[in-house]
C-alpha cells in the first residue's frame, strides 16, 4: 500500500488509541478522582483563593451561563483594545501596524468564539504581544469555555433530578490546568525539536543563493501551534497556516497536528460514557460520527488523489494527485484527510489551500461545517449533536405516539422549541449572509470599501459563489478556514461575519445548556418497556437520518449553485 495512504490510516488509528485513555483521564478529572496531575492542586488552590472562587459552590444553569458569558464579554473588550493599540505596545519587533477598528472587532470575536477566521496575515497583521496575549490566550480559554459548557451538560445528564450543573469557574480552570496546558507543553516540545521556531527573535533578512533579498518571519510559534490544534482553534501564526513550513515542518508534525486537533473531541465522547455512566450511548454516538466523517472523507480523498481533470487535459502527469495549493511534504492524501478533519471538527487550520481543492472536496468541506457535529469542536461538537438528538427524540416520539423522553426526563414544547431555533439559526445565518454578499457583488460592485465588491472574488462563476458561501459557513460553524482567495478584510466582511460568529457561538452553547438544565430539573421517569432507548443503534441511525434531512433541506440549493455545479461542469 502506498505510504501516503498508510500515513492517513495510521494517523486516525493513533488518534482513537490516544483518545481512549485521554477520555478516561478527563472523566476522572471532572469526577475529582485521583489523577497523575494532582501536583497541580496547589496552583488551582492559589487561583481560587486569588480570584475569590468557592469551587464547591453549586450553580444552576442560569448562574452557570451568567459566569460563562460575563468572562467571555470581558475577553472581547480586552482583545479588541489590545489589537487596536498593538502598534504602540511592546513586543513588536517587526514594527507591524495597529488593526483597523472593523478588523480588530472581527479578530477579537473570531478568537473569542474559537473560530479563528483571520482577515489579516499573521506575518504583518499582529505583533508578538498580540499573538501571545490575545491569540494564544484566547485559544486556551475559548477551548476551555466549550469544554466547561459540555461538562455542565454532563452534570445535568448524570443526575436523576438536579439543579446543579457544577461550578463553572472550577470546571473551566481545571480544563486549562489539567488538560489543555499539560498536553500542549508536551506537543509544543515535540514541535520545537522538529524545526518549529520558539524564540522571540524578529524577522530575519537573508540573501538567497540566486541573490534575492527576502525577509523571513519567525517568532515563538511552537506554543501557539500546539493550542491552536489541541483547542480546535485553527488560527495560524503565519498567513499560510499549517501549510507554512515553519508552522508544520514535516510529515511527523503534520501527523501530530492532526492527532492534536482530533483527540479531545473524540476523548470527550469516551469521557461522557464514563462520566454519566452510559458507555453504550457514547459508543453509538462515536460510531455514527465516525461513519459520518468517513462519508465525507472518502469522496474527498478519491478526488484529490485522482488529480485535477483540467490539469490532466494540459498533458502533464499527476503521480500523487492534485498539487495546486498543496505541499510536497504532505501530498494530496494527507491534505485531503486534513481538509475533512479540520472542517468536521471546528478547527479550521489548513495544510493545503481549500480554495484550490477539487470541487467535490470543497462540497465535502462545506458539508462538514454545515453539519458541524461529526466529532465537532472542543466541547461544542457534542453540544451540537445533542441538539440533533433532542430533535430525533421528538420525531421518534411523534412516530410512536408517546411523549418523547430523553434519559428519564420528558422532552416538552419548550425544549423542542429551543432545539428547533438553534437548528434554524445556522441555515438563516449561512444563507442570509451568502445572499447578502452575492447581492453586493451583483448589484453594488463599486461600493467604496477597502476592497470593492467587484474585486472580492478570486475566481469566476460557481467557484466565486462558493468563496462567499464558504466564508459564512465557516463563520457560522466557528470553523475559521476559508476559501482564502476572498478579499475579506473590509468593513462588510469584518462586521457581517463578526455578528454571525457571536450568534453562532453563544446561542448553540446557551441552547443545549438551557435544555439540559430544564430537563434535569424535571421529575425522573423510570425506564419502562415503552421507553425509547436512546443508546440503541436504531436510535443512532435515527439521529443520522435527522442530520441528513435537516442539512439537505437547509443547504442543498446553495450547494447546487456552488460546488455541485462546478463539479458537474468540470466533468464535461
Amino acid at each position: 500500500m502506498n505510504t501516503e495512504l498508510t500515513g492517513v490510516i495510521v494517523t486516525f488509528i493513533i488518534t482513537v488509541l490516544l483518545a481512549i485513555p485521554l477520555g478516561r483521564y478527563i472523566a476522572k478529572v471532572f469526577a475529582v478522582e485521583r489523577t497523575v496531575t494532582d501536583f497541580m492542586n496547589p496552583v488551582e488552590k492559589f487561583i481560587y483563593r486569588f480570584c475569590g472562587i468557592d469551587p464547591q459552590k453549586e450553580m444552576n444553569w442560569k448562574e452557570f451561563l451568567k459566569a460563562l458569558l460575563t468572562i467571555n464579554m470581558l475577553w472581547f473588550v480586552y482583545a479588541f483594545f489590545m489589537l487596536l493599540f498593538q502598534d504602540k505596545l511592546p513586543l513588536n519587533p517587526d514594527g507591524n501596524p495597529a488593526q483597523t477598528p472593523d478588523l480588530a472587532f472581527n479578530t477579537a470575536i473570531s478568537f473569542l468564539v474559537n473560530c479563528d477566521l483571520q482577515h489579516y496575515s499573521g506575518e504583518s497583521g499582529v505583533t508578538y504581544l498580540t499573538q501571545l496575549f490575545v491569540v494564544t490566550f484566547l485559544q486556551f480559554v475559548s477551548a476551555a469555555t466549550g469544554i466547561a459548557a459540555l461538562v455542565g451538560v454532563f452534570n445535568a445528564l448524570k443526575a436523576k433530578t438536579t439543579n446543579n450543573l457544577g461550578n463553572f469557574w472550577q470546571i473551566f480552570t481545571k480544563t486549562i490546568t489539567r488538560i489543555l496546558l499539560p498536553v500542549c507543553i508536551i506537543i509544543a516540545i515535540l514541535f520545537t525539536f522538529n524545526g518549529m521556531p520558539s524564540s522571540f527573535a524578529g524577522k530575519d533578512t537573508i540573501v538567497t543563493m540566486q541573490g534575492d533579498t527576502v525577509g523571513v518571519s519567525r517568532g515563538p510559534v511552537a506554543g501557539m501551534v500546539a493550542i491552536k490544534h489541541l483547542g480546535t482553534n485553527g488560527g495560524g501564526w503565519f498567513g499560510a497556516n499549517s501549510a507554512h513550513p515553519l508552522e508544520n515542518p514535516n510529515y511527523f508534525t503534520s501527523m501530530l497536528e492532526l492527532i492534536a486537533q482530533t483527540v479531545i473531541p473524540i476523548a470527550m465522547l469516551f469521557a461522557m460514557g464514563l462520566y454519566i455512566k452510559r458507555k453504550k450511548f457514547a459508543y453509538v454516538i462515536f460510531g455514527i460520527m465516525t461513519i459520518g466523517m468517513l462519508c465525507l472523507l472518502v469522496p474527498t480523498m478519491v478526488s484529490e488523489i485522482s488529480g485535477s481533470p483540467a490539469i490532466a487535459k494540459l498533458g502533464v502527469s499527476q503521480p500523487t494527485g492534485a498539487m495546486e495549493g498543496k505541499e510536497v511534504r504532505f501530498g494530496p492524501a494527507a491534505s485531503g484527510y486534513w481538509s475533512i478533519i479540520t472542517t468536521v471538527i471546528s478547527t479550521g487550520s489548513v495544510n493545503s489551500m481549500h480554495d484550490s481543492s477539487m470541487p467535490v472536496s470543497g462540497l465535502m468541506q462545506l458539508l462538514g461545517m454545515m453539519i458541524n457535529a461529526f466529532y465537532g469542536g472542543c466541547g461544542v461538537g457534542i453540544l451540537n449533536y445533542y441538539i440533533y438528538i433532542i430533535i430525533a427524540v421528538f420525531i421518534s416520539g411523534l412516530m410512536v405516539g408517546r411523549t418523547p423522553e430523553f434519559m428519564g426526563h420528558k422532552v416538552e414544547a419548550r425544549e423542542v422549541k429551543i432545539a428547533a431555533l438553534v437548528t434554524l439559526l445556522s441555515a438563516f445565518l449561512i444563507k442570509g449572509g451568502a445572499a447578502l454578499a452575492a447581492y453586493f457583488v451583483a448589484h453594488h460592485g463599486d461600493m467604496a470599501w477597502a476592497v470593492k465588491p467587484s474585486a472580492w472574488l478570486n475566481n469566476p462563476s460557481y467557484h466565486g459563489f462558493s468563496e462567499m458561501l464558504y466564508e459564512f459557513t465557516s463563520a457560522n460553524a466557528n470553523n475559521g478556514s476559508g476559501f482564502e482567495g476572498l478579499g475579506d478584510n473590509n468593513i462588510f466582511w469584518n462586521v457581517s461575519t463578526g455578528f454571525v460568529l457571536i450568534l453562532a457561538r453563544f446561542l448553540p452553547i446557551i441552547g443545549p445548556v438551557a435544555i439540559a438544565g430544564l430537563l434535569a430539573k424535571k421529575k425522573y421517569v423510570p425506564e419502562s418497556a415503552g421507553t425509547l432507548k436512546t443508546d440503541s443503534l436504531t436510535f443512532g441511525m435515527m439521529t443520522m437520518a435527522v442530520i441528513i434531512i435537516i442539512n439537505a433541506l437547509s443547504y442543498f440549493p446553495a450547494l447546487a449553485l456552488g460546488p455541485i455545479s462546478e463539479a458537474l461542469r468540470g466533468a464535461n
Binding site: T6, T192, S198, G239, P245, Y251, V328, F330
Partner: protein
C-alpha cells in the same frame, strides 16, 4: 453580575501570566536546546548562510534545480497560496505557460513526464521540497549547464532524498535548497 465580573477580571489576569507569559517563555528556553536554537535552522554554502532549511527559495537559473512555482514569489514575510479554483480559465492558462517554459528550458523532456508539482503553486508559496521525480526530470538540463555527468546528479538526488517517515508514512521528498547548496559546494 458585579460578583461575576470581579472574578472574571482576576481569573483573566492570573491566566494571562500562566498562558501568555510563563508558557511561551518556558518553550523558548526549551527551544535553545533544539537545532537552530529556536530561531529556525539555516543552511550554509562555504560557510555563508544562504537561507533557512525549511523555507523554500526561488530557483530559476538553469544551473540549479528549480523550485515549485510560488504565488508570493517565495516571500517568506508574506506566505500564501494562489487560491485559484481548479476550473478557473485564467489559472489554467498560467499553468499552460509554465509547462511551455519548462519544455523550452528542458529540451528532450516529454510533457507527460512533467510531474504536476513543477507547474502548480504550493499552499504556502514557500514549499521547500520536490518529489524525487520532480528533481530527476531536471537532471539533464543541470548536467548540460554544469558539465557534470547525469549519473552523478541522479546519485546526488538519491542521496538527498528523504524517505517517508519511518519508511512507512507520507511521501518521499528532496529539499531543493540543500540540493542546490550541495551542487555549489561540489564545484
Amino acid at each position: 453580575m458585579k460578583k461575576y465580573l470581579l472574578t472574571s477580571i482576576k481569573l483573566t489576569a492570573v491566566l494571562l501570566v500562566l498562558l501568555a507569559v510563563l508558557y511561551p517563555l518556558f518553550l523558548s528556553a526549551v527551544g535553545k536546546l533544539a537545532r537552530g536554537k529556536g530561531n529556525g535552522e539555516t543552511v550554509s554554502v562555504n560557510g555563508k548562510v544562504v537561507g533557512y532549511a525549511n523555507i523554500g527559495q526561488k530557483f530559476t537559473e538553469d544551473k540549479y534545480f528549480w523550485s515549485r512555482p510560488s504565488a508570493v514569489d517565495y516571500n517568506a514575510a508574506g506566505s500564501a497560496g494562489s487560491n485559484k479554483g481548479p476550473t478557473n480559465p485564467d489559472y489554467l492558462k498560467t499553468v499552460q505557460d509554465r509547462i511551455d517554459t519548462f519544455l523550452v528550458h528542458n529540451p528532450g523532456v516529454k510533457k507527460e513526464d512533467i510531474p504536476a508539482e513543477l507547474v502548480t503553486a504550493s499552499g504556502s508559496g514557500l514549499d521547500p521540497d520536490l518529489s524525487p521525480a520532480g528533481a530527476k526530470i531536471q537532471v539533464k538540463r543541470i548536467a548540460a549547464a554544469r558539465h557534470i555527468s547525469e549519473d552523478k546528479l541522479n546519485a546526488l538526488v538519491d542521496e538527498q532524498t528523504v524517505k517517508p517517515l519511518l519508511g512507512m508514512f507520507g511521501p518521499a521528498k528532496v529539499n531543493v535548497l540543500k540540493l542546490n547548496a550541495t551542487l555549489d559546494e561540489m564545484q
